[in-house]
Amino acid sequence: MHLFRRGMRDGISIALGYLSVSFSFGILSVQSGLTVWQAVLISLTNLTSAGQVAGVGLIAAHASMLELFLAEVVINIRYALMSLVLSQKADSSFRLPHRFLASFGITDEIFAVASIQKEPVKPLYMYGLTFVPFCGWALGTWLGAAAGTILPVQATNALGIALYGMFLAIILPPARKSRAIFAVISIAAVISILWHYFAKWMSGGFAMILAALAASVIGAILFPVPDTDETAKEAQT
């Protein structure tokens, strides 16, 4: 239970960020002709931002199921890579049923927090880490869909930066201590900016994972890790 609580605590900042993102998703869904409960159902079953936004757009445009399927594959294929990274990080107590259940919660943010843990990740921690953001995601969708237009915009907009603040709090301390990590996050940021301004046709999720992959490959060439566990400990202490 201790692990579940620790996971929930680490999930709070993610949930706050999700609240504002899913809030706009709720507004968008209702504007696209879905009911409040259909919007909430999408958030409960999908738990992803870009894929849901694209899906609602396609539903509203009366696209075929094949188009919908292909769009989801292209937008969400990055999760396969994150899922692979987490498979290497999973504790031996992660039996198959746990893997089936916990993999539902692999979002960009939950992945990032789970994969940067010092020790192998255990199922209970993963469930706690997923549970709070999951609730925030569903609640935000409901609020946005049901009452999006009557709540103060500035407050929800301000919450939108919470998530990114948390990301900086995750990467800056290890980047201070490790030249390699500093280099990798700088390269990723530069490539991400280049994509953003010079390759606008790329979807956000796709651009993000291409930037991250390129930076990680460059990092792996310039600074190969001698022993993953040793380096991880060094960066965290």
Partner: protein, 105 residues
């Protein structure tokens, strides 16, 4: 009506299977040093690419986003807990939204 529910099911299943298959079925530890290194750096690179430049658009208003970013960078640099950094960035952005228009008038 039912078309929407089929569409939701297609979205949900596609997304789930992509997430589930590698996590459930890659059980061996990867030994290759290069791949190990790439996998080690990916979380940091993902977080960085997710944050930049998106953080500057996160509040729908550049000055407040810059205020939030500066506060987040300073607090994160000094190793404050995640939730403190996250909430302080939001608070700074909110204050900037309320106060900057008054100051610049």
């Amino acid at each position: 009506m039912s078309r929407i529910f089929i569409a939701i099911a297609v979205m949900a299943l596609t997304t789930y299977i992509i997430r589930m298959v590698p996590f459930a079925f890659v059980r061996k530890k990867i030994k290759n040093r290069f791949i190990q290194s790439v996998l080690y750096y990916i979380p940091y690179a993902v977080l960085s690419a997710m944050t930049i430049p998106s953080i500057f658009y996160a509040t729908q208003d550049l000055p407040s986003a810059i205020a939030g970013t500066v506060v987040a960078v300073v607090l994160a640099y000094f190793g404050c807990p995640l939730i403190v950094v996250a909430l302080s960035a939001s608070a700074a952005a909110y204050l900037a939204m309320l106060l900057l228009p008054l100051i610049l008038q």
